[in-house]
C-alpha cells in the first residue's frame, strides 16, 4: 500500500512532463493532487502499521542471477520518514504555487525527486535503495539550475557533484559488501546476517557512512548545503533541507550502522580521546552542531542563516545515531522528522513569503522594511518556526534534541555539553534573525514612508502550508507518542542486531 506513494509520484512526474505547456494552473493542481495522494497513502500506511514490525510491501526478483530483488518494505522508521516526505511534498507544492516559468517541468522534476525519496525510505534491498538514492540527484540539479537564484548554476553543480561523490563512495562500499558476502543477494536483511568479517567492516563502515553523511551535511563535507539551499527555489530548498538531507542520515542508519555494526567497535588504541569510528563521527557531528550555529550567527543573508542552521540541526541527527543507545537513536529519528518539518517552514518563510515579495535577503536591508507591520503573518509564522527551531518545549524539536542530549550524555557527557552550546547559539541566531527581519526598532526613513510600496498579500497556499507544517510540529510537540510509539520499537529491533 505504501508503495503507491512511489508509483504515484513517478507517474505524476511523467504525466506532468507530457502536459501541454502554457497552462500552469493545471500543472499546479495536478502536482498538489499527487502530493496529497502521496500524503494520504503515507498516513494510511502509518496508521495501518502501528504496532507492527517490518512489513514487506513488494518482493519481486529483479536480476535473479545476482540475487537482486525489487524489495519494498517498511518498518517504524521508514513509516515515520515516509510521513515526513508526504508532509514536505504537500507543503513544497503549496509554496511553489507562484512558479510561472516552465511550471510543468518544475513540478515534473519535483515529483520525480519526491518519488526517489519515497523509494529510498521504502527500499529494503541495497541495490534498489541505491538506485532510488541516485535517481534523486538529477532532479535536484535541474531544480536549482533552472529555477534558482543566487549563483544557481554553480550551486547546482556543486550539489550534484558532492552528492554524486558521496554516492560513489557508497557504491564502492556496496559492491565490496556484496561481493564479500558471496555475491548472493543484495537484500538488507540478508547482508546484515551475512557475517561480514570485522576487519572488512572496519574500513567499509567509514567509507559508506561518510558517503551518506556527505548528503546529510556532516562537517566538513557540508559546504554544498548552504550554497545549494540558498540558491534553490523555495519548494526545492524545503525539500532539500527537509527531506533530502534526511536521505543521507537514513542511509547512515539503515546501511552504515545496520550492515556494518562492528565498524563502530573500538580500534584498540586511542588518539586524543578518539578510539573508534564512533568517536570520530560523533566528534564531527558535534563540531557540525557548534560550527553550523556559530556561522549562522555571523551571516548577513537571511537564507544563509537558515541554511547553516540546517547543518547544525543535522549534526544532532548524526550525534544521536552515534550514541548507539535506544534513547539517542530514537531522538535522532525524531529529529529527522522534526527538523524536516521545521526547516521546510523556515525556508518557506524566508524564501516564498519574504524574498519573493521584498526581493532581498540581506538582513541589513530587511531591517528597514518593518515587516512585522507589513507582513504580520510572516512575522508570527517565523516566531513559531523560530521557537520550534530552538527546541522550545511544545514543539517537536524539544523532544528530539532532549533525547539526543540524554543519549549522548550516557556515552560521553562532553558531547552533550558541546551540543548544548550549540543550542544556546541556536537561540542567539534565531533571535538575531527575528529581530533584524521582523521586529527591528529602526525608524523608517522619510523616503521609505513615501515609497512604502505595498507588499503582495498572503495567499491561501502559503497560509495552508504554514498551518500544515507548524501544526505538524506542534502536534508532535504536544503528543510525541504519536511518533515515538512507532519509532521506539523499530530502533529497539535494529539495536538488537537485526534489520528485521
Amino acid at each position: 500500500m505504501l508503495a503507491f506513494a512511489i508509483y504515484l509520484s513517478f507517474a505524476g512526474a511523467l504525466v506532468m512532463a507530457l502536459l501541454p505547456k502554457g497552462r500552469p494552473a493545471l500543472a499546479r493542481w495536478l502536482a498538489l493532487a499527487v502530493a496529497v495522494a502521496g500524503l494520504a497513502v503515507a498516513v494510511a500506511g502509518f496508521i495501518a502499521g502501528m504496532g507492527q514490525g517490518r512489513i514487506v510491501l513488494v518482493d519481486v526478483p529483479w536480476v535473479p542471477s545476482m540475487g537482486i530483488h525489487f524489495l519494498l518494505a517498511a518498518d517504524g522508521i521508514s513509516r515515520v520518514l515516509v510521513l515526513l516526505t508526504g508532509l514536505a511534498a504537500v507543503a513544497g507544492v503549496l509554496f511553489s504555487w507562484n512558479i510561472e516559468l516552465r511550471t510543468n517541468e518544475f513540478f515534473a522534476f519535483f515529483l520525480a525527486l519526491i518519488g526517489g525519496v519515497y523509494g529510498v525510505f521504502l527500499s529494503f534491498d541495497l541495490f534498489l535503495l541505491f538506485v532510488f538514492y541516485e535517481i534523486a540527484i538529477v532532479p535536484k540539479y535541474f531544480l536549482i539550475a533552472i529555477w534558482g537564484s543566487t549563483r544557481r548554476e554553480y550551486a547546482a553543480m556543486k550539489l550534484a557533484i558532492y552528492s554524486f561523490a558521496g554516492s560513489a563512495m557508497v557504491l564502492i562500499g556496496l559492491l565490496a559488501a556484496y561481493t564479500t558476502a558471496g555475491s548472493q543477494s543484495t537484500g538488507l536483511v540478508e547482508l546484515a546476517r551475512a557475517g561480514l568479517p570485522v576487519s572488512f567492516q572496519m574500513w567499509c563502515f567509514p567509507l559508506v557512512f561518510t558517503g551518506f553523511a556527505i548528503l546529510a551535511g556532516m562537517w566538513p563535507f557540508h559546504t554544498w548545503a548552504p550554497t545549494g539551499h540558498v540558491a534553490a527555489p523555495t519548494g526545492a530548498s524545503m525539500l532539500l533541507a527537509g527531506v533530502v538531507m534526511k536521505l543521507g542520515a537514513y542511509g547512515c542508519l539503515r546501511v552504515g550502522i545496520a550492515l556494518f555494526p562492528h565498524g563502530l567497535d573500538p580500534w584498540g588504541f586511542s588518539f586524543a580521546g578518539i578510539g573508534s569510528w564512533r568517536d570520530v563521527f560523533a566528534v564531527l557531528a558535534v563540531i557540525g552542531i557548534v560550527y553550523g550555529a556559530l556561522v549562522a550567527l555571523a551571516q548577513t543573508d537571511f537564507k544563509f542563516v537558515i541554511g547553516y542552521s540546517s547543518v547544525s540541526h543535522m549534526g544532532f541527527v548524526l550525534l544521536g545515531l552515534m550514541t548507539l543507545n535506544q534513547i539517542g537513536m530514537t531522538g535522532a529519528v525524531l529529529q529527522m522528522f522534526s527538523h524536516g518539518i521545521i526547516a521546510g517552514l523556515l525556508f518557506a518563510i524566508a524564501g516564498r513569503i519574504v524574498y519573493d515579495r521584498t526581493h532581498t535577503r540581506q538582513l541589513a536591508e530587511l531591517e528597514k522594511m518593518h515587516l512585522s507591520r507589513r507582513l504580520p503573518f510572516a512575522a508570527w509564522a517565523f516566531v513559531i518556526a523560530g521557537l520550534a527551531s530552538i527546541g522550545m518545549p511544545g514543539f517537536s524539536g524539544f523532544w528530539a534534541e532532549m533525547q539526543v542530549l540524554v543519549g549522548a550524555w550516557m556515552v560521553n557527557p562532553w558531547w552533550t555539553v558541546a551540543a548544548g552550546v550549540g543550542i544556546v547559539v541556536g537561540v542567539a541566531y534565531i533571535w538575531r534573525a527575528l529581530q533584524k527581519v521582523f521586529f527591528s526598532d529602526l525608524l523608517p526613513s522619510a523616503r521609505e514612508l513615501e515609497q512604502g510600496h505595498e507588499l503582495a498579500a498572503i495567499t491561501w497556499p502559503e497560509v495552508t502550508g504554514v498551518v500544515l507544517l507548524a501544526g505538524a510540529s506542534l502536534a508532535v510537540g504536544l503528543w510525541p507518542r504519536i511518533l515515538l510509539d512507532t519509532i521506539e520499537p523499530a530502533v529497539r529491533t535494529l539495536l538488537a542486531g537485526g534489520v528485521q
Partner: protein, 508 residues
C-alpha cells in the same frame, strides 16, 4: 479528587479564548473579559472545592497520564493550597489587567490573545507536577510577555524587551540544565516523587553517584533561574526597564502574577529538592535577600517615575518572601523553630497573594492617571489630586497604604507573619530588613504627599475623577484588600494545612 479534568480545562480555556480573540478585532477585549471571568469562576471553584477536599498526599484535582515515558515525562497536574491560591491570584490579576486595558488601539486582537496565552502559561505552571510540563508553561508565559512589551510598550521598549528576554532565558537555561542532570540521575521528572527522594536523602546520593559532587551546582543553577524571575539582587536589572516600558496593564501582569512564578518555583522546586544545599548556603542567600529588601526600597526612594517607584517597590516586597524562604532553611529544626517556619511560610504565601493584588491595583491606578494626563507619570508632575479626584485619591490611597503595610489592609498580615517567623530564625537579617519597611513607608508617604496633597498643580485642575465603570471595576479589588486585611484567616486557614504538609516534606 475530582474525576473532571478541571485543571486541564482551566489551562485550555484561556488558549481557546486567545484563538477567538485573535480574530475578534475590536471585540477582542470583550472576548478576553468573558474568558478571564470564566477562568476566575473556575479558579474560585478550585479554591473552594480544594479547601474542602480531604488532603490526600497534599494534592487535589490530580490528573496523571503518560506523555513520553522514555524521558520520564508525564502529564501530571495537581494543586495544593499554594497552587490553588496562585490560580486564584492569576485569575484575578489577569481580569484586572484586561479590565485596565481599554485603550488598545493597535491590533487589539493580537494583544488580548497574547494576554490570554500568558494567563494559560500561568495556570499551567501553577498546576504542573512534572518538570517538563512546568517548564513548558514557564517558557510559554515568557513569549507573550516579550511581545507585549515589544509591540505595545513605551519609547525604549526594544532594549527593555530584549533584556527581559535574555535574562529570563538565561535563567531558564540554568534551570533546564539542572533538571536534566536530575533526570539523568534519577530517571524521573516528577515533583512529588523527587520531593520524596530528597526527603530521604536519596536524591543527593543518586546525583552524586551518577555525576559526582555537583548537587550544589545544580542548586545554584535552580536558584539562579528563579532569582532572575522574582527577581533577586543582583539579577534584577531587567525589571525596572521592563516594568516601566511595558504598557501598564502588562506591568500589572508582570508584577502581579509572573513574579510570583519565581517564588512559587522556589517553594515547589528549590526548597523541596535542594533544601540541604540551600541550608548550606543560607548565609549568603540571606544577605542577598536582605539586599533585595533594602536596595529595593532605597532605589524606589530615588525614582521620579511612578512606575519605576512601584517597580522597585515590588522588588522590595518580594524580597520579604525571599527573606522568609531562606530563613526557613534551618537544619534540624526543633518544635519552636517549626512553628516559626510555619509562620514564615504562611507569611510568604499570603504575601504572594496580597502583593499580587496590591501591586496590580497600583499599576492600574498609574494607568488611569497616565491616560488622564496624557502620559505623565512623573511624581513631580502632579499635586493636590485629592481635590479634583477625591475618589481616585481615596481608593489609590487605600492601595498605597496596603503597600506600606498598614494593619487592617491586606499588605499587613503577610509581612507580619514573615517577620514573626523570621525573627527567631534569623534575627540579624530580620532586623536589617526592618530598614526596608521604614524606607518603604517613606516612599509611599512621599508619593501620597506629592501626588494627592499639597497645592493643586495647574494642569491637574480639570483632572477627571473616576467614572462609574472604573469605580465598579475597582470596588471589588479594594474590597478584597480590606477583606483579606481584616480577616486573613480566610486564606490562612486554607493554606495552613498545605504549609504543614510542605514543611513535613522538606529536609534541610
Amino acid at each position: 479528587m475530582s474525576g473532571f479534568p478541571i485543571l486541564t480545562l482551566l489551562t485550555v480555556l484561556p488558549l481557546a479564548g486567545a484563538a477567538i480573540a485573535l480574530f475578534s478585532g475590536r471585540h477582542a477585549r470583550g472576548v478576553a473579559l468573558i474568558t478571564t471571568g470564566a477562568c476566575l469562576a473556575l479558579a474560585l471553584v478550585v479554591w473552594t472545592e480544594w479547601s474542602q477536599l480531604p488532603v490526600i498526599g497534599g494534592y487535589g484535582f490530580i490528573e496523571q497520564h503518560a506523555w513520553a515515558p522514555s524521558l520520564g515525562i508525564q502529564y501530571h497536574l495537581g494543586v495544593d493550597g499554594l497552587g490553588a491560591l496562585m490560580l486564584l491570584l492569576s485569575a484575578i490579576v489577569t481580569l484586572m489587567s484586561v479590565d485596565a486595558a481599554h485603550r488598545v488601539h493597535h491590533q487589539p486582537g493580537l494583544y488580548f490573545a497574547l494576554v490570554l496565552t500568558l494567563e494559560a502559561g500561568l495556570f499551567g505552571s501553577f498546576t504542573a507536577l512534572n518538570f517538563f510540563h512546568w517548564f513548558l508553561f514557564w517558557e510559554l508565559s515568557l513569549i507573550p510577555a516579550f511581545f507585549l512589551i515589544k509591540l505595545w510598550g513605551g519609547a525604549r521598549r526594544g532594549p527593555a524587551a530584549t533584556q527581559f528576554f535574555i535574562y529570563t532565558m538565561a535563567g531558564s537555561a540554568a534551570l533546564l540544565v539542572a533538571f536534566l542532570a536530575v533526570f539523568v540521575s534519577t530517571g524521573s521528572m516528577d515533583f512529588p516523587h523527587l520531593t520524596l527522594l530528597a526527603l530521604t536523602g536519596e536524591l543527593e546520593q543518586m546525583v552524586t553517584a551518577r555525576l559526582g559532587p555537583v548537587m550544589i551546582w545544580l542548586a545554584i543553577g535552580v536558584l539562579a533561574g528563579f532569582a532572575v524571575k522574582v527577581p533577586m539582587i543582583p539579577f534584577h536589572t531587567w525589571l525596572p526597564a521592563a516594568y516601566a516600558e511595558a504598557p501598564s496593564p502588562v506591568t500589572m501582569l508582570l508584577t502581579g502574577a509572573m513574579s510570583k512564578m519565581g517564588v512559587y518555583g522556589l517553594l515547589r522546586i528549590a526548597l523541596p529538592l535542594f533544601g540541604h544545599q540551600i541550608a548550606q548556603m543560607r548565609t549568603p542567600l540571606l544577605v542577598l535577600a536582605v539586599a533585595t529588601v533594602v536596595m529595593g526600597a532605597w532605589a524606589a526612594a530615588a525614582q521620579k517615575d511612578l512606575k519605576r517607584i512601584f517597580a522597585y517597590s515590588s522588588v522590595n516586597h518580594l524580597g520579604y518572601c525571599l527573606l522568609a524562604i531562606f530563613a526557613l532553611a534551618v537544619p534540624a529544626a526543633g518544635a519552636a523553630a517549626v512553628t516559626s517556619q510555619a509562620m514564615a511560610l504562611n507569611g510568604v504565601i499570603l504575601q504572594m497573594f496580597n502583593h499580587g493584588i496590591t501591586a496590580a491595583a497600583l499599576f492600574w491606578f498609574v494607568a488611569m492617571i497616565q491616560t488622564r494626563t496624557g502620559g505623565h507619570r512623573g511624581i513631580d508632575q502632579f499635586g493636590g489630586l485629592r481635590k479634583p479626584a477625591p475618589v481616585l485619591a481615596g481608593l489609590m490611597g487605600i492601595a498605597l497604604f496596603s503597600s506600606l503595610g498598614l494593619p487592617g489592609l491586606n499588605g499587613f498580615p503577610g509581612e507580619f507573619l514573615i517577620f514573626r517567623g523570621v525573627f527567631p530564625l534569623a534575627w540579624v537579617a530580620a532586623t536589617v530588613s526592618i530598614l526596608g519597611l521604614l524606607v518603604t513607608a517613606v516612599v509611599i508617604l512621599t508619593v501620597i504627599q506629592k501626588v494627592f496633597w499639597g497645592p493643586v498643580a495647574e494642569h491637574c485642575v480639570n483632572f477627571p475623577d473616576l467614572h462609574h465603570g472604573e469605580r465598579l471595576a475597582l470596588a471589588p479589588v479594594i474590597a478584597l484588600m480590606l477583606l483579606v486585611g481584616l480577616v486573613p484567616s480566610l486564606i490562612v486557614s486554607s493554606v495552613n494545612p498545605t504549609v504543614m504538609n510542605l514543611l513535613a516534606h522538606w529536609r534541610f
